[in-house]
Symmetry: C2
């Protein structure tokens, strides 16, 4: 028996597109990990009728669990708990223990800010946030808003009300899954394994051919739920594997390797960022960026601990800086143009010297929208890698898309090139 869920995301700023929703995707991931089938995510604004309609829709569609995010603040337009109370046919009651908990949190915060104004309005806000549906269980706030769990009935799903700010919601999740009503639903979900294969440089249409072959040749293929997704230049294949369908997945993996072996860079869930971080262990890397202008360095330092191997880098946007800071010969730029493998190589070797590194990566390209020529159209990007042992590797690609796409994809390509070159090192 599959267990199905729905997520209701509230917030006018999300509905109107001004803010990207982080909670739907994050909660979807947690439900997926737990083997729960997510049927719907719905997004609504601050209009109570729209949220009620969505809750009703999910209940009518037969989901076992509804998660909501947002609308728990102290202001008048934060109505989620009230709406959920009405939806579940329960009265809204003051929970005094919760009121004390919230009050202690707020007082601590105000004391830290040295704030003594508006204590009355704070007390009213605290009281509002301590009103929950009768019989519901609350979860300790990670900001000021509590989580609320209303157990399901024969006709209604269990509803879990969560705060909107993603850090608060995420910090609260471990306590939410301990609430008995939630824990029982999670425990009833079938256990499915999930595996991810990542490849680079394969068009989705070629993968589609392979998957059609798989469908007709692999026994038990129907017990694999496969979704594919093209992201940046990478193709990601996520498979949910029913209990007992391990052989089918092994056969699929064999087929993927046979058809696309060279393109597959990950079968264990690791990202190119994970792999590059591992390969850089014990090394010192420097960057020399023109068109990506810091984005490669920014991505390399995304992860904690990257200071162990990232020394620094140069953003060499102008030709003068390529020469002055990285020591690229001005004649080389004049002869081949700033966007050339020769200059990419010189930038990388220059960065190696300038930053005392043993590994360097460079980018120089035309991100657009202007600046293209017939020989070097917009999207042309040259990459260079230089290593302490004298190895120099260059590559040129023409990347599609907008200025932002070209810069973003260039950053990914730089990481893949690093991975390839470093993997080939003894």
């Amino acid at each position: 028996m599959s267990v199905r869920a729905g997520i209701v995301v509230t917030g006018t700023e999300v509905l109107t597109g001004r803010v990207a929703d982080a909670n739907g995707p994050w909660l979807a991931g947690r439900l997926g990990d737990a083997g729960i089938e997510l049927a719907h995510i719905t997004v609504c604004g601050d209009r109570p009728a729209d949220m009620e309609a969505q809750l009703r829709f999910l209940a009518d569609d037969g989901v076992d669990l509804i998660l909501t995010s947002g609308g728990l603040g102290p202001t008048a337009d934060d109505l989620t708990v009230e709406i959920v109370a009405r939806f579940t046919g329960r009265e809204l009651v003051l929970d005094t223990a919760l009121e004390e908990t919230i009050s202690a949190i707020v007082n601590r915060w105000m004391a830290a800010r040295g704030d003594t104004t508006g204590l009355d309005s704070v007390a009213a806000a605290t009281r509002k946030q301590a009103m929950i549906p009768a019989g519901a269980q609350w979860v300790t706030p990670t900001g000021t808003a509590p989580g609320v769990v209303v157990s399901g009935t024969d006709t209604l799903p269990t509803v879990v009300v969560l705060p909107g700010p993603p850090p608060e919601l995420q910090a609260m999740w471990p306590a939410v899954v301990e609430v008995p009503a939630v824990a029982a639903i999670l425990a009833s979900a079938p256990q499915q394994r999930q595996e991810t294969v990542r490849m680079i440089g394969v068009p989705e249409s070629e993968l589609a051919v392979t998957l059609r072959t798989a469908e007709s040749t692999i026994s038990g293929f129907d017990r694999l739920e496969i979704t594919t997704c093209l992201r940046r230049a990478e193709l990601e294949i996520v498979t949910r594997i029913d209990t007992g369908a391990d052989d089918a997945y092994a056969a699929l993996l064999d087929l993927l390797r046979a058809e696309h072996g060279r393109a597959i860079f990950s079968v264990d869930g690791s990202t190119v960022d994970d792999q590059v971080a591992g390969l850089l262990s014990g090394r010192l890397i420097a960057t020399a960026e023109s068109c990506t202008a810091g984005l490669v360095a920014g991505r390399l330092t995304d992860r904690a601990g990257s200071s162990a191997y990232v020394v620094g880098g140069a953003v060499a946007y102008s030709n003068e800086i390529k020469t002055d800071v990285l020591g690229v010969d001005a004649d080389l730029i004049a002869a081949h143009g700033a966007v050339s493998e020769q200059v990419a190589a010189a930038m990388a070797t220059g960065a190696l010297r300038r930053f005392g590194a043993d590994t360097a990566i460079s980018t120089t390209g035309i991100a657009g929208p202007g600046g293209g020529t017939p020989e070097k159209p917009v999207g042309t990007v040259c990459f260079g890698i230089a290593l302490g042992d004298g190895t120099v590797v260059t590559r040129t690609l023409v990347l599609p898309g907008s200025r932002a796409d070209v810069r973003d994809r260039s950053t990914s390509v730089a990481l893949h090139l690093l991975r390839q070159v470093l993997t080939a090192q003894p």
Copy 2:
């Protein structure tokens, strides 16, 4: 009479949280611009029953217009058009003119790739994509998939089917709004003006107090639809203004200026990025980044034409690079620590010299999760700005959140500091 709409986003990769949906927010923006009230965004995966349930929900909720994105590809799990045909009670029929159009596009692409394999499967895929609900109108593909418009009836809303890849969907929109059935709905929406105020450094709770005052003192306040949103360190206030409610908005703006004048940096919709780009015109800026490691340079070069004022910069992650490349005195680092206003100032003045710039911005901080101390906790970031006339400004902030949050907010703070310092320049 308000005109209401719903958006159905399809795609397992979006539903499961592996890919952030770009289409819902983008379409929401277009609907908002057109004065259409967006009631719901729903997200479903590849299960036809879930999508049908969402279409039915939106129709039952009384929306006038449904936009769908995704599920138009050539593969077997791309079922949107078929589901919409069933939902609108129409037969799926082959449109031969559309088939020829798609075929011409595909042949051009394959010729460009020198690809002659699989012509049969391509013909089958083209035929599949040329099947549309009887009586529906198609919109020329911007990729290979057409848009489809099914006009509404007394009981059903108008349904517009759009492709999933955001560039395709966005490129198709101008043609979609020309389709008579869509144009008629857009024309029937009430015209509302929208204005945006942006401020920095004001807690949402203080703004809430101001808005409560506005509610009780401004005549016509109920004809302003206000949404507020805290993003990074900025507070954004978007107001939809009914026709004839201009005086109420003017009064609101006066009140906001009276209460939060110094914090307001934009009342014309411009972002801090827009403003900094304007202020940098005629200048040459260099960056010197430690904790943000290239992200400030990356953000400054987001926009086309930024090479006119961005010279370059250094990612000075290690102390050695701060000294070697930026000329920061090693004794200064020893005396005050790398995360200090003294070092931030020296990094900025060093960048000014090193890169031959007249404007420089530096960051040095503890992004975490490790590295904090009681005096300098995680999130402590020092900023420096140096100008060609000898001006040096420094600032220290303790920013909340994760490593990614601290780095992201630091980038925003750097831009705001630049804005403030450059605005104050004669």
